[in-house]
């Protein structure tokens, strides 16, 4: 420390001033599990630590520091949070809900979280624009006793509670559906997501883990669909043109486009495991009799509600795992039901899964669509 002060004459004085304010972080107490309601707040794995925050009296002030805004997933996420906060059992717990979107500038998002900490909010939910840049904010949140809950794009940290779905497990779920219909061999099309993204990687590896397990001999054709209907439709059409017929399809996202490509190419309907877009489920329900047997599981914008529930539970002083693995919302043939888990009257881009039975969280589509994307 002494030598560090030698860095520059001016820095020496700053160090003294800084050392006082940058002392140790308090943060939650690490306790042993199991935590509160483990069927909803499932620990990510056996090694996950458990946290206990100091209990505070409700109602609480909750904030969402969102980054990017402007795609349908994010807009539905914001609407879902507002709908969730209005539900009768949640409403009494929340005094104030504030939502700010800062765009792609990481410094601006950090400042937004800092602003919420400075303003005395009890809990802050965030989808970080960068998984590594939040270490200083995490320390400031812990020191101030604020519950910071990153979800969806989680941070590289074990010092705060994080909420996400197990992406490898989504890949395995997708694989199980195909294996159920295919047996041990066949020709499978795999439509991957955005290259370089950890979600794409984890789903792919989870899928391959089961498909390539001993005793199986599948021919898997891999194309890149970027989780986008248009791209997925094009690459599927190309793959069908080149390879002829597939026995089953696995698509990470842009599932509606993949089914459309199949129909356009007059490819016979085959079992398919895909994401949870409304358009995909509409087609699944309509063409199930013709052999389009679907499994639909996905990353729900309703994840925000679980993040909020996690924050509210932590604020009440209950024990929670450091990394909450949210139950994956899964619907498989023949369980597709109109206006229950898909919505014929809503757009294809609507993300259907908004209920998490183990958590007792269900945000009906009508409640989401009734909300504007405006701040409170």
């Amino acid at each position: 420390m002494v030598t560090k002060a030698m860095l520059g004459a001016g820095l020496a004085a700053l160090l003294v001033a800084g050392a006082a304010s940058s002392s140790f972080a308090a943060g939650p107490e690490v306790v042993s599990g199991p935590g509160h309601n483990p069927s909803c707040f499932a620990p990510f794995n056996a090694d996950t630590k458990h946290f206990k925050f100091e209990a505070k009296e409700p109602p609480y002030r909750i904030a969402l520091a969102n980054g990017f805004v402007g795609n349908t997933w994010r807009i539905q996420m914001i609407k879902s949070l507002k709908a969730y906060a209005e539900q009768p059992d949640v409403k009494p717990l929340i005094k104030e809900l504030k939502i700010v979107s800062t765009g792609t500038d990481v410094a601006a998002q950090i400042a937004a979280v800092d602003n919420f900490i400075n303003s005395g909010y009890d809990a802050i939910l965030t989808i970080a624009v960068n998984p590594t840049a939040f270490a200083p904010v995490i320390r400031r949140a812990n020191r101030a006793g604020v519950v910071l809950v990153p979800f969806d794009n989680v941070l590289d940290s074990d010092k705060i509670i994080q909420v996400n779905e197990d992406q490898s497990e989504i890949g395995r779920i997708n694989a199980r559906w195909l294996l159920k219909h295919l047996g041990t061999s066949g020709k499978v099309l795999e439509v991957r997501g955005l290259p370089g993204n950890s979600v794409d990687r984890d789903r792919h590896l989870g899928f391959r883990e089961l498909m390539e397990a001993g005793g199986n001999s599948f021919e898997i054709v891999e194309v890149v669909g970027n989780w986008d209907d248009g791209t997925a439709q094009k690459v599927t059409a190309d793959a069908i043109a080149v390879h002829g017929k597939f026995d089953a399809i696995f698509v990470q996202g842009g599932s509606t486009g993949v089914v459309r490509a199949m129909m356009d190419a007059k490819h016979p309907f085959v079992p398919i495991s895909g994401e949870a877009e409304n358009g995909f489920r509409k087609l699944c329900a309509k063409h199930a009799d013709e052999g389009l047997l679907c499994s639909s599981a996905g990353q729900s914008p309703g994840l925000v509600a679980i993040a909020a529930k996690t924050a509210l539970t932590a604020l009440q002083g209950k024990v929670l795992p450091q990394y909450v693995s949210v139950p994956i919302p899964l619907v498989e043939h023949p369980d597709f039901k109109a206006n229950v888990n898909y919505f014929p009257d809503l757009t294809d881009n609507f993300f259907t899964p908004n209920e998490f039975p183990p958590c007792n969280v269900n945000i009906p589509a009508t409640e989401i669509m009734a909300k504007t994307e405006a701040d409170q």
Binding site: M6, L7, A17, S22, V100, T104, D105, A107, T132, E373
Partner: protein, 326 residues
């Protein structure tokens, strides 16, 4: 008396920017739930100083009549360099900081050399070099990560004696140590002369090449200081093209709001600092006034347009239409 009047007249843009900033910041603080506390000021200062440094970097090429589209990318590149080098033993940290600043200065020098000796348009040159610098950043940090000396980072992002945000002290130091001496030097005055009337400057014996080279190099150095500061704020590095682009465009806006003419020759870095502060306060106003998220870009755009328009207020006072053409 006449001297004072002349000086006031020359710094009209700066004074206006300061006034607008003070008004907006007062509005922000008055509506902030916590009021003006040290943490609130520090949060605002950290992100404002970041943009202010990039805006200062933009000011220098603009003064010579150019435009630097690579400042944001130099900022990102030095952030990535800093996230690899500014950690470890104290001497490693010190050497790391020096290398980061030299990297920035070198990148600026390359811009300047191409503009001066290659005789290319600054806007095209820096568009190309900006892509190169982003490419280097991406090679250094294909995925976000890295580290920085946390003690030093804490010092730089907290306060001095629990009162003044350290980042403001850093900004003041940059102004006093780099900007003011440069502005008053022969080369610095040469930059103004070149931007004002290059031909006349040449005929008056101003070293045009040296002035431009110095302006671009110093610009790179300032972007390097900003990159270092970003590393202190995020504890890591990220080769992010959107961030680079955002800071480049915002730096140009800050320069204009601060009263520096895009035609060159008038203005200065102090105005750009307050221009940057104004831009950041616009974002902060979104925090205290609950605007719908999808309305926020529209609001920012309208306020920005108004702020930039203030710089054109002089046209109301001209007596002769010919004055418009200068």
């Amino acid at each position: 008396m006449k001297d004072l009047k002349l000086r006031l007249g020359q710094s009209q843009g700066v004074l206006l920017a300061i006034l607008v900033f003070v008004l907006m910041f007062t509005l922000y603080i008055a509506n902030h739930p916590a009021g003006l506390t040290v943490p609130v000021a520090t949060t605002a200062a950290n992100k404002a100083v970041l943009l202010a440094l990039v805006a200062m970097a933009q000011t220098l090429p603009v003064l010579t009549g150019g435009l630097d589209l690579s400042v944001g990318m130099i900022f990102i590149m030095t952030n990535c360099v800093a996230s690899s080098l500014v950690s470890g033993d104290p001497w490693q940290v010190a050497v790391g900081i020096v290398i980061v600043l030299l990297t920035g200065a070198l990148a600026g020098f390359v811009n300047g050399a191409i503009v001066v000796y290659g005789r290319l348009q600054p806007i095209i040159t820096t568009l190309a070099t900006g892509a190169v610098y982003y490419g280097i950043a991406l090679l250094l940090r294909p995925v976000p990560g890295g580290e920085v000396d946390e003690d030093l980072a804490d010092i730089m992002t907290y306060t001095v004696f629990e009162v003044v945000p350290t980042s403001l002290v850093l900004l003041l130091a940059v102004v006093v140590i780099i900007w003011l001496p440069f502005r008053n030097s022969v080369i610095g005055r040469g930059c103004y002369a070149v931007g004002s009337a290059e031909g006349a400057a040449y005929m008056s014996g101003v070293s045009i090449d040296r002035s431009k080279l110095a302006a671009y190099t110093l610009s790179g150095l300032l972007a390097g200081v900003a990159g270092l500061m970003l590393t202190f704020i995020t504890f890591s590095g990220e080769a992010s093209a959107p961030i680079g682009g955002t800071y480049t465009l915002n730096s140009i806006a800050a320069v204009v709001i601060g009263g520096t003419s895009l035609y060159g020759g008038t203005g200065g870095a102090i105005g750009s600092i307050f221009g940057a502060f104004i831009l950041r306060t616009i974002d902060d106003l979104l925090f205290v006034f609950d605007l719908p998220p999808l309305w926020q870009p529209l609001f920012q755009g309208v306020v920005l347009l108004v702020a930039v328009s203030l710089g054109a207020a002089r046209v109301f006072r001209i007596r002769n239409r010919l004055e418009l053409f200068k």
